[in-house]
C-alpha cells in the first residue's frame, strides 16, 4: 500500500489517499496543499496488520513521527518506506532517502534550527503576560473546547487504545466540557505530548473551534530542548524524555 494524498472537496483541500491498485494511483497528487501528517494512519487499527511493506508520503515532521512511533514500539521501521518531501515557498521538493535512518542528517539540521523555528510572536506575547493574564487568555481559548477530541484523534502520537480521559476509575480528567474540564484535558494532553510533539499541526488544524493548541506544544518542545537537550524524533532508538533522566538535571526550582 502507498499512503499519499488525493484532491479534496475544494481546490485547496487534499484528502489522505490509500493506494492498493495501479488505478488508484491515478488520483495521487503532491503539492503545497499536502500538509497533513499522515503517519498516524500507520498505527490505526488493522491498517498494517498484514505486515506488508507500506510506502508513505511524509514531510520532515512526519519522518520524525515515524522515529518516535518506532522508538515507542508502535511500528516496525522495516515495514515502512518513506517518500519524503518538503514544502518551501509553496514549492514541493523531494527528499533523498527511503528508510527512516537515512534522514538522520536532515533531522539533525532541523534540531539545530529548532530554537529559532519554535519561536512564535504569540507565544512570546503569552510568555510576557502576568500569570493572571495568561490564565485569562487560556480560559477564553479553552472555554470554546467542545471535547470532540479531534486534537487527539488527529495526532499520530495519541495512539493509546484507551486515553486517560476515557478512564473513569478514577476519572482524573473531567469529561464535561466546562472550562475546568477543558483546562484539565488540554493540560494533560500537552503533558503527554511533552518531548514527543513534532509540531506537525494536525491537532491545530483539526480543532473545529480553532484553539491554538500548537502554542502549548511548541512551548513544551522549547522546554525539553532547553532543559534536557531533547528534540522529539531524532532517531528510532531515542529514549523518551520522561522515561529517562540525568543525575545532573536542573533542579533550581526545588526548595
Amino acid at each position: 500500500m502507498v499512503i499519499g494524498y488525493k484532491p479534496g472537496t475544494t481546490a485547496d483541500r487534499r484528502r489522505p489517499h490509500f493506494i492498493r491498485t495501479p488505478e488508484e494511483a491515478d488520483q495521487l497528487v503532491l503539492d503545497s496543499a499536502c500538509i497533513t501528517n499522515l503517519s498516524g494512519y500507520l498505527v490505526s487499527e488493522g491498517l498494517l496488520s498484514d505486515e506488508k511493506a507500506v510506502a508513505i508520503f511524509l514531510k520532515p515532521d512526519g519522518i520524525r513521527s515515524i522515529n518516535i512511533l518506532a522508538a515507542e514500539a508502535q511500528l516496525n521501521i522495516d515495514q515502512i518506506l518513506i517518500l519524503g518531501f518538503d514544502i518551501n515557498d509553496n514549492q514541493v521538493t523531494a527528499l533523498e532517502g527511503e528508510k527512516v535512518e537515512e534522514f538522520a542528517t536532515l533531522i539533525e539540521s532541523i534540531k539545530e534550527q529548532a530554537p529559532d523555528a519554535l519561536k512564535n510572536p504569540l507565544l512570546e506575547k503569552i510568555e510576557g503576560m502576568t500569570p493572571k493574564e495568561r490564565f485569562t487568555f487560556w480560559q477564553k481559548e479553552f472555554s470554546r473546547c467542545i471535547k470532540c477530541y479531534a486534537c487527539r484523534q488527529a495526532c499520530p502520537m495519541c495512539y493509546c487504545r484507551r486515553c486517560i480521559v476515557d478512564c473513569n476509575q478514577p476519572q482524573w480528567v473531567n469529561t464535561s466540557s466546562h472550562t475546568l474540564g477543558n483546562f484539565e484535558w488540554n493540560i494533560v494532553r500537552a503533558f503527554h505530548l511533552s518531548g514527543r510533539c513534532v509540531g506537525c499541526g494536525n491537532c491545530d488544524r483539526a480543532c473545529p473551534v480553532n484553539i491554538p493548541l500548537r502554542l502549548i506544544n511548541a512551548k513544551m518542545a522549547q522546554e525539553v530542548l532547553g532543559s534536557f537537550d531533547h528534540f522529539a524524533g531524532m532517531s528510532h532508538t531515542q529514549e523518551p524524555v520522561l522515561a529517562s533522566f540525568k543525575k545532573d538535571d536542573s533542579e533550581t526550582f526545588i526548595l
Binding site: E72, Q74, C163, I164, Q169
Partner: protein, 656 residues
C-alpha cells in the same frame, strides 16, 4: 457497602491534650460509610487492640482506620490486630494525628479540624483498599557466585559450609584473583599465597561447590529466588576429566615468550599454560590467540607430548544453563592504565612499574623468586621512589575517589624492600596517609620508624632517565622545596578501577552501577551488600575499592544474606507491587525504561491460533519493589500500584 470502623486514640495526653477526641469521634461518625467511630486512651495497648477486634467482629467492619501515631510506628501492630479479628490486614490504614498534628500545632480547634481532614482522607482511602495477600515466591536453593577471587571464594565457602549448593564461576583459568598475585599482606605481612591457596583448594574440593573456571556468565533472567543463568564455558582445548596436570605440554610448548598476565608482564608464559604454579584447577588451557597451531595450522607439539591424549583442538565453547536462587557478584577490579601519566614515563621506561608489578617482584613464587630486581637490567635497585595517588584522587587525569589500599601497600612495599635490600633507600611521595584500620596506622609508623622509609608530602612532576638512573623531580610541600631524587626504580600506586566491562556486565545481570562502573549497593549505609536488584548481592572490590579484610567481611555478609533467603522454601513479600491492565496497555515500553528494577517485561498476547495480537508490559511481582514510577509514566493509565492505587489516591484527595 462500606462499613468502616474509626478508632481515635488519645495516646494519653499526646493527642488528647491538643485534639478534642470526643468531638472528632462525633464528627467522623457522621462521615459516609462510617459504622463505628470511637475514642480511647491507648488503642495500641492490649485492651485497646481487643476493643478494635471486638468492633470488627460485632459490626462486620469492611475497613479500619486508626487515628493515632505515625504508620511508621504502629501500622504493623494494628494490621496484625485486624488480621486476628478476621479482617484482611491490608484493610487497615493509619491516620497520623500525632506526629503530623497534635504534636506540631498550637491551636486546638485548628488541630482538631486538621485531624478530622486527615482521618476522612484515610477513610476514603480504606474504602478502596483491596484485600491483599503477601506475595509468595518460591526459592531455588542454589547460589551463584560470580568471581573466584578472595571475596567470591569466601562467599562460596560460607554458603557451602552452611549446607547450600553453590556454583562458583571464574572467567580466568584458575581461581585466585588479585590476591593470588600478592606477595605479603598488610598489616601482618603474612604470605598471601600461604593463606590464599588453602582457601582455593577448599573451594575446589567442597562437595557443595560446583566450580566453573574459564567460564563467563552471559545472561541472567528471572528474579529473586528464581534466576535463570546462562554460562559460557570457554573452550580450554584440554579435557579436564583426563588431564592429570603433569605439565609436560607446558614444558614442550615452543611459544615461551608470551607476556604473563598473572605476572603483570614481568614474567613470561607459554601458549598452553596455567596462570601460576598453584593454579586451581591445576590444569592448563591453550591460549588460542598465541598458540602456533591456531595461528599457522601447524605445531601440535603439546598434543604429541601428552601421554593421555587430553588435548583436543576441536573443542568448542559450550553453554550451560543454571537455575539459581541468589547471586553474589564478586567480579573484582582492575588497576588503572598508568600510561595516562606521560610525565611518569610508565610504559616508556621499563623501571617505572606499578604496585602490582612490584608485588610480583616481591613474591617468592614470582618471576624473580622474590628478589627485587630491575626489569631493565636485572640489577638490584638501591633507591626506589614510590608515588602514591598515581591516579586516585586526581579528577584531571585519574579518578576522583580514593583507592583506599594504596597508602597501606606502599608502606608494605617500602618495608619488604627494606627487608630484602638492607642498604636500599625508599622515598614515598604522598598526599595524605590514610591508615584507618586495625593495626594499620601502627604499620605505617613501622615503615617510617623501623624501616626508615622517607615520606615526602608532595607530588612528583616528572620522571626522566639519566644514565642508568631515573631522575624524579617532585616537591616537598612541608619544607616548601623542590626535590630531585636519582632513583633506580619508580613504583606507582596505581588507582583501583572497575573491570573494563563492568558496566556492560551490570546491564547483563540487571544491577545498577555508579558513574565509574562500580556496582551500586541498595543503600550505602543500611543495605551495603545488596544490589538494587532483589536477590543479587555484592562482595569485594566490584562495589568499591577495598582491602582484603573488608572484601572478606562483605563476602561473608553477602553469604549470610543468601543463607537468610535460603532459610525458607518460599519468600514472602509485601504486596505493594505494580500491575498492568493488558487490555489498555499500548506497549510503548516507557515503563520498562523507567523501572529501576528491570521488573517490567514484554509479554506477547496471542490469539487462539497463536498469532501475535499485541505486546504488552507485564510486571514481575518478584522483582517489583513498589515505587510506582511506572504508574506515573503510563499515559494510558494502564499500570497501577497495589496499596497506593489511582482510585485510592483520588479518593484521598477528594475526601479532604
Amino acid at each position: 457497602m462500606a462499613k468502616i470502623g474509626v478508632f481515635i486514640c488519645h495516646c494519653g495526653e499526646n493527642i488528647g491534650a491538643k485534639i478534642d477526641c470526643n468531638k472528632l469521634a462525633a464528627t467522623i461518625g457522621e462521615h459516609p460509610g462510617v459504622a463505628v467511630s470511637v475514642e480511647y486512651k491507648y488503642f495500641c495497648a492490649d485492651p485497646g487492640q481487643e476493643s478494635i477486634k471486638k468492633a470488627i467482629r460485632d459490626n462486620n467492619l469492611t475497613g479500619v482506620v486508626v487515628a493515632a501515631c505515625s504508620p511508621r510506628m504502629h501500622e504493623a501492630t494494628f494490621r496484625k490486630a485486624c488480621a486476628e479479628a478476621g479482617l484482611n490486614p491490608y484493610m487497615c490504614e493509619i491516620a497520623n494525628i500525632r506526629e503530623h498534628c497534635s504534636w506540631v500545632h498550637t491551636d486546638p480547634d485548628m488541630a482538631t479540624e486538621k485531624a478530622a481532614d486527615i482521618t476522612r482522607s484515610m477513610i476514603e482511602k480504606v474504602k478502596r483498599n483491596n484485600k491483599l495477600q503477601p506475595i509468595e515466591v518460591p526459592v531455588t536453593r542454589r547460589a551463584l557466585v560470580i568471581g573466584g577471587g578472595i571475596a567470591g571464594i569466601q562467599a562460596a565457602l560460607d554458603i557451602a559450609n552452611a549446607g547450600q549448593e553453590v556454583v562458583l564461576v571464574e572467567r580466568e583459568p584458575s581461581l585466585g584473583g588479585h590476591m593470588a598475585q600478592l606477595s605479603e599482606t598488610f598489616p601482618t605481612l603474612d604470605c598471601s599465597q600461604c593463606i590464599m591457596t588453602p582457601r582455593m583448594v577448599e573451594a575446589a574440593q567442597h562437595p557443595k561447590i560446583r566450580l566453573l573456571t574459564y567460564a563467563e556468565v552471559v545472561s541472567v533472567d528471572g528474579y529473586i529466588g528464581n534466576f535463570h543463568v546462562k554460562v559460557k564455558m570457554k573452550a580450554r582445548y584440554v579435557d579436564m576429566e583426563s588431564c592429570t596436570g603433569c605439565g609436560d605440554c607446558i614444558t614442550k610448548c615452543p611459544q615461551k615468550k608470551i607476556s604473563s598476565e598473572f605476572d603483570c608482564g614481568i614474567g613470561k608464559r607459554t601458549a598452553i599454560y596455567t596462570p601460576f604454579a598453584q593454579s586451581v584447577p591445576n590444569k592448563p588451557v591453550i591460549d588460542k590467540a598465541t598458540c602456533t597451531y591456531f595461528k599457522n595450522g601447524k605445531c601440535k607439539v603439546c598434543m604429541r607430548s601428552c601421554q593421555i591424549n587430553a588435548i583436543n583442538f576441536d573443542m568448542q565453547d559450550e553453554f550451560i544453563e543454571l537455575e539459581i536462587g541468589a547471586i553474589v557478584v564478586a567480579t573484582g577490579f582492575q588497576v588503572q592504565n598508568n600510561a595516562v601519566y606521560g610525565e611518569y614515563g610508565y610504559g616508556k621506561y621499563p623501571d617505572v612499574i606499578t604496585g602490582l608489578q612490584f608485588e610480583r617482584l616481591a613474591s617468592a613464587s614470582g618471576p624473580t623468586f622474590g628478589k627485587i630486581l630491575r626489569p631493565s637490567d636485572g640489577k638490584e635497585p638501591k633507591t626506589i621512589v614510590f608515588i602514591q595517588c598515581a591516579g586516585s584522587r586526581d579528577p584531571s587525569k585519574g579518578v576522583r575517589y580514593c583507592s583506599k589500599i594504596c597508602c597501606m601497600y606502599t608502606a608494605k612495599h617500602a618495608m619488604l624492600y627494606a627487608h630484602k635490600v638492607h642498604e636500599g633507600k625508599s622515598h614515598i611521595f604522598y598526599m595524605d596517609i590514610r591508615a584507618a584500620g586495625k593495626g594499620y596506622d601502627e604499620f605505617t609508623r613501622r615503615a617510617i620508624e623501623e624501616d626508615e622509609a622517607s615520606y615526602v608530602r608532595g607530588r612528583v612532576s616528572k620522571v626522566w632517565p639519566k644514565m642508568s638512573k631515573l631522575m624524579v623531580r617532585g616537591v616537598d610541600t612541608l619544607l616548601g622545596k623542590p626535590v630531585l631524587i636519582a632513583a633506580d626504580m619508580v613504583v606507582l600506586a596505581t588507582a583501583m578501577v572497575p573491570q573494563p566491562d563492568a558496566k556492560e556486565f551490570a546491564k547483563t545481570i540487571g544491577i545498577a552501577y555508579d558513574e565509574y562502573g562500580f556496582f551500586n549497593e541498595a543503600h550505602l549505609k543500611l543495605r551495603p551488600v545488596e544490589s538494587s536488584t532483589a536477590g543479587i548481592f555484592l562482595a569485594g572490590t566490584c562495589q568499591s575499592p577495598k582491602d582484603i579484610p573488608d572484601s572478606v567481611s562483605q563476602a561473608s555478609a553477602s553469604a549470610s544474606k543468601v543463607l537468610a533467603l535460603f532459610s525458607k522454601q518460599t519468600l514472602e513479600r509485601e504486596p505493594v507491587v505494580a500491575s498492568n491492565n493488558e487490555a489498555t496497555c499500548a506497549g510503548c515500553w516507557g515503563c520498562v525504561l523507567a523501572c529501576p528494577y528491570n521488573a517490567i517485561e514484554k509479554k506477547d498476547i496471542l490469539d487462539r491460533s497463536g498469532k501475535l495480537i499485541k505486546r504488552v508490559a507485564s510486571v514481575n511481582p518478584g522483582l517489583c519493589q513498589g515505587c510506582g514510577t511506572c504508574v506515573t509514566f503510563c499515559r494510558s493509565n494502564s499500570l497501577d500500584l497495589a496499596g497506593f492505587t489511582e482510585k485510592q489516591i483520588f479518593a484521598e484527595v477528594m475526601g479532604l
